[in-house]
């Protein structure tokens, strides 16, 4: 019997909130490798932002030891997956490192769009799937309905799906037994040529980049020279080991195993997710399939706020990039906001996470501009430009046409919300491809929609119209010509480049009016009237005015309480620091991101 028979490599796949992280915690606790007292809630989600949002962005992987009822000791490698549509590629690579997956379905909610999306990704990697019904401790659990949904929608036999509660620990042992039975052991040749899949990496200031890997064939140890088959770079291995969690050195990693490799690698971009590691002196014939360079879907400008140093922002962005191959940036100069960076993200969540980390981990004060997608601008001379910054859009006279990215959006919803979702999607220029009843009460809507319409507040709008019951999954489909124009915003008759957007021509009027109204709320009164105008080219299409204020005076004398007066003035001054000066107009920094959150009920 081979050592491989006692290894199981698996992922947990679930919709957000369905309890994936809690289950992972429980497994770690059960298998005794982390003392209960060291357990932070949800051990695997170790970034504060992840824990707060209940989502996983950076992967964690953990080696568990489990003594099964058959008396054998098993090594269970739990490979985490990020739980958000922005990170589908990362999910697929994590799954590729596994031989099976535990599908967690919330017994109170049933199957959701993302569950299905992740199941398909798992099927694409040929994984055995073990469905599990979670949250069975709740009174609202409907295991029979959930089982029926798994069978009807996903097509898996759920009759023997373990019923568990990750929260209370109920049913976990049975689940582990079932896991060993259902998920096959890895296969591979420890004496073959090294083929190891990178499914994640992160930067450690002492060890350099730490690569999480699954060895498919061969073995690797300290002192070996490894080669990244797609980027062609060589590194000397300084350490290999297991993630228990954390990093625990080992002599070698061999076929079927999951662990980490360090090699004085300076940034994660040099150890890209999906790349194949081999030995430089005895390379494998071909890399593992499925490598893809991460592509930014959403861009925005990040500028130092008043009083913040450009260098600080640059340092922070560089540090973030070291750990995030999907994040990229380049210098940008805005007439309104000065020197800053144009940053590319996988999606809106990715963008949120990065900007939040800038504030939290680096204590930076930055202004983020409106997110934008990448437009393909086909010029009259035939040249095609990629434009992700509205300010860079060439003059209309030179443009033959513009193409915008279209995504395939799958929305799963209880049937009573179909009407309002259809209205929402229609207003967002969505085009319904088809609709199917998955069960009597659950419907899946398939739309094609401009990405531009999805990135602002579509998800929030969807949630609010369906009381949180609808779920969304989307992926890039194609570029498609569209009638688009650049909408400029002028404050006190001066165009503010950072507020320009690219919008569909037919919506320019409504958008322009909405932005002007919003700015009117956000911009404080000045000592003079501030006209706010929206324009297409030279044509003004909407206008609002911030009335002049006439009074900012404390007439009362507070019996010599100068300190109180001073505090008021200091507060006023501090408030002004959060503002940005454009000529003589002062604009609060949040204006740049708030302005398109047009809660217009669309």
């Amino acid at each position: 019997m081979s050592y491989l028979d006692n290894i199981r490599n698996f992922s947990i796949i679930a919709h957000i909130d369905h309890g994936k992280s809690t289950l992972a915690d429980r497994l770690i606790e059960k298998t005794g490798l982390v003392e209960a007292r060291d357990m932070k809630e949800q051990y695997l989600d170790n970034m504060d932002i992840e824990r707060e949002r209940g989502i996983t962005i950076k992967l964690q992987t953990t080696r568990l030891q489990y003594k099964a009822k058959d008396g054998q000791e098993y090594i269970l490698n739990l490979i985490d997956t990020p739980g958000h549509v922005d990170f589908n590629y990362e999910v697929s690579r994590s799954l590729a490192a596994c031989d099976g997956a535990v599908l967690v379905v919330d017994a109170t909610q049933g199957v959701e769009a993302q569950t299905l999306g992740n199941v398909y990704l798992a099927l694409d990697e040929d994984l055995e799937i073990l469905p599990v019904l979670n949250k069975m401790d709740l009174d609202s659990a409907r295991p029979d309905d959930a089982r029926a949904e798994i069978e009807d929608i996903i097509g898996l036999d759920a009759s023997e799906a373990p019923e568990i509660s990750a929260k209370t620990g109920m049913g976990i042992d049975d689940m582990l037994e079932k896991l060993i039975e259902v998920i096959p052991p890895p296969q591979g040749d420890p004496d073959g040529r090294l083929k190891a899949l990178i499914f994640d990496s992160y930067y450690d200031s002492y060890k350099g980049v730490i690569i999480y890997t699954r060895i498919f064939d061969g073995r690797v140890k300290r002192g070996d020279t490894i080669r990244m088959m797609n980027t062609g770079k060589n590194y000397e291995v300084t350490e290999v080991g297991y993630c228990i969690p954390g990093t625990v050195p080992a002599d070698e990693l061999k076929a079927g195993e999951v662990g980490y490799i360090c090699g004085s690698i300076k940034q994660v971009a040099d150890a890209r997710v999906g790349d194949t590691i081999t030995l430089a002196n005895a390379p494998a014939d071909a890399p593992l399939k499925g490598y893809k360079k991460a592509q930014s879907m959403v861009y925005c400008g990040i500028f130092p706020a008043e009083g913040e140093k450009y260098e600080n922002v640059k340092d922070a962005l560089e540090k973030l990039q070291v750990n995030d191959a999907a994040f990229n940036f380049e210098p940008e100069n805005s007439a309104a906001l000065g020197y800053g960076y144009r940053c590319g993200f996988l999606g809106l969540l990715h963008m949120d996470v990065i900007t939040e980390r800038l504030a939290r981990e680096f204590d930076l004060d930055v202004i983020t501009t409106l997110p934008s997608v990448v437009y393909k601008v086909v010029m009259k001379d035939g040249e095609v430009l990629d434009i992700q910054n509205p300010s860079n859009l060439p003059a209309p006279a030179l443009i033959a046409h513009i193409e915008e990215p279209i995504v395939k959006a799958d929305i799963m919803t209880p049937n009573e919300y179909v009407g309002s979702i259809m209205t929402l999607c229609q207003n967002r220029r969505g085009n319904m491809i088809h609709m199917e009843y998955l069960t009597k009460t659950r419907v899946q809507l398939h739309y094609e929609m401009p990405l531009n319409e999805v990135i602002y507040d579509f998800f929030d709008a969807l949630k609010s119209r369906t009381r949180g019951y609808a779920s969304l999954d989307y992926e890039f489909l194609r570029y498609q010509p569209a009638k688009l124009v650049k909408l400029d915003i002028l404050l006190n008759r001066e165009p503010i480049d950072a507020l320009s957007t690219i919008v569909p021509e037919e919506e320019a009027m409504a958008k322009g009016r909405g932005i002007c109204e919003k700015l009117k709320e956000i911009i404080p009164r000045h000592q003079f009237e501030v006209p706010i105008q929206a324009a297409i080219g030279q044509k003004i299409i909407a206008r609002e005015t911030v009335r002049a204020y006439r009074k900012d005076v404390l007439a009362k004398c507070y019996g010599g309480d100068i300190t109180r007066k001073k505090k008021l003035l200091e507060k006023q001054k501090a408030g002004k620091k959060r503002m940005r000066q454009f000529g003589s107009v002062t604009v609060p920094q949040e204006a740049f991101t708030e302005v398109l959150k047009l809660d217009d009920g669309r």
Binding site: R550, A555, L569
Partner: protein, 420 residues
């Protein structure tokens, strides 16, 4: 102590936190007089007076007192007997200059219902040395007075003023409030005319501010009450300023006006000497609940908790809740923003002197040859915006210093906040 500090004037502020009833706009620290421990309070005050005086003597920092101001609340609701004892203690404890300005805040209709009582009370105040009254008139319209929650009528004001004058008090301030919800500019000007008919030596005019935690604050929140629009408020303010100038009053501070003396070219003798201490970075000892003081380079504020105040003094300790030793920057910043309230504005020389007075300035004022240069070095960050305000005619910047224009007053906070 630097030599400069020796030249400062010094005043005493005493807080009396009791009123007949709380006005509906009032956010000041005050209690309903009836049933409050007024006697215990003045006893405690006497202890505080003695402790402060002893402390100053022990430090060798005691100096003659130029002004005394008893404010509130409504000091005139205090028993004359205990007031008299308290003032005696005050005068025994501090070296009060013979020509000191001694103000009592009084509300109409609180000085005695019967003429005889009021005359006798005023006599008692005179014995105490009080030589200036500040009356919270606020309005001369009975409906509006009622709306504000005041306890007096326009007739009470006329009668009180008559007796005060008969008694020979020749330095009286009347407070006028404008921009009361529902009040027009014309209403305010008509109030002003009635107030002018008493020929007060001093008039304070301020617009009603609706503050959180007051009855008006709650009414504004529920929409029962609508604030007078800023445009209207400022228009009324400037009309009042014009009218008072025409009537021979000097507009010497944002909300304060003093009747001109015999020589119309020199500053009015009726300016509030006490309030001027605040605007000039002079010293004042604050006594009583929640009172603020600024002496020997230290700003302090007493506790605002009445129980704690009484307890502290019962145990023989000062009831100070906050204390802050001013830095050089604190000094110059305060000198600028409080000095800008005066129509004269500030002189670089005085501001820089305030800066040098602080122990951490590391210099002495004699070394400063060009005060303007030093000033703008300290406020280099503010210079650009300040000159923009100057360009717009809101601020005057010259070789001597800065001052707000009458238009600049309207947005004085924005200008002042450049210097904090």
């Amino acid at each position: 102590m630097t030599a400069d500090r020796m030249n400062k004037k010094r005043g005493i502020y005493i807080h009396m936190p009791f009123c007949v009833q709380k006005c509906r706009y009032c956010a000041f620290l005050s209690f309903t007089a009836e049933g409050s421990p007024r006697k215990e309070y003045t006893d405690a005050l006497e202890k505080e007076i003695k402790l402060r005086a002893a402390l100053e003597r022990d430090n060798g920092t005691d100096r003659p007192i130029d002004t005394i101001y008893i404010g509130g609340g409504t000091p005139s609701v205090m028993d004359i007997s205990s007031m008299s004892e308290m003032v005696k203690t005050l005068k025994r404890s501090f070296d009060v200059k013979p020509d000191a300005e001694f103000t009592l805040e009084a509300n109409p209709a609180t000085l005695g219902r019967k003429d005889g009582v009021m005359l006798a009370k005023l006599q008692a105040y005179r014995f105490m040395g009080i030589n200036r009254f500040s009356m919270g008139v606020q309005s001369m319209d009975n409906d509006r007075l009622h709306f504000l929650g005041r306890i007096h009528t326009a007739e009470n004001v006329a009668r009180d003023m008559d007796i005060i004058r008969r008694k020979g008090f020749d330095n009286v301030n009347l407070d006028l409030m404008f921009s009361v919800p529902g009040e027009s500019g014309d209403d305010a000007l008509s109030d002003l005319e009635k107030i002018l008919s008493f020929k007060p030596e001093h008039i304070s005019c301020y617009s009603l501010q609706i503050e959180e935690g007051t009855a008006f604050g709650r009414m504004a929140e529920s929409g029962e009450l609508t604030e007078v629009p800023d445009e209207e408020d400022r228009d009324t303010y400037h009309r009042i300023c014009r009218r008072l100038r025409d009537a021979g009053y000097e507009h010497y501070e944002i909300s304060n006006f003093a009747r001109k003396g015999d020589d119309p070219d020199s500053p009015s003798p009726y300016r509030s000497r006490h309030n001027s201490l605040y605007w000039n970075m002079d010293e004042y000892i604050g006594l009583g609940l929640g009172a603020s003081g600024f002496i020997n380079g230290i700003r302090y504020k007493n506790t605002t908790d009445l129980g704690e105040y009484l307890a502290a003094l019962g145990e023989g300790r000062l009831p100070v809740a906050e204390e802050h030793k001013n830095t050089a920057f604190d000094n110059i910043s305060e000198a600028v923003f409080s000095g800008l309230r005066r129509s004269e504005g500030i002189r670089y020389e005085d501001a820089v002197r305030a800066y040098m007075e602080a122990d951490d300035s590391g210099g002495d004022s004699t070394a400063a040859t060009d005060a303007g240069a030093v000033f703008w070095e300290i406020f280099a960050e503010a210079e650009k915006e300040a000159s923009e305000y100057a360009k717009r005619g809101l601020l005057v910047i010259d070789n001597e210093g800065l001052k707000l224009t009458e238009q600049g007053i309207d947005i004085s906070n924005s200008i002042m906040s450049l210097f904090v």
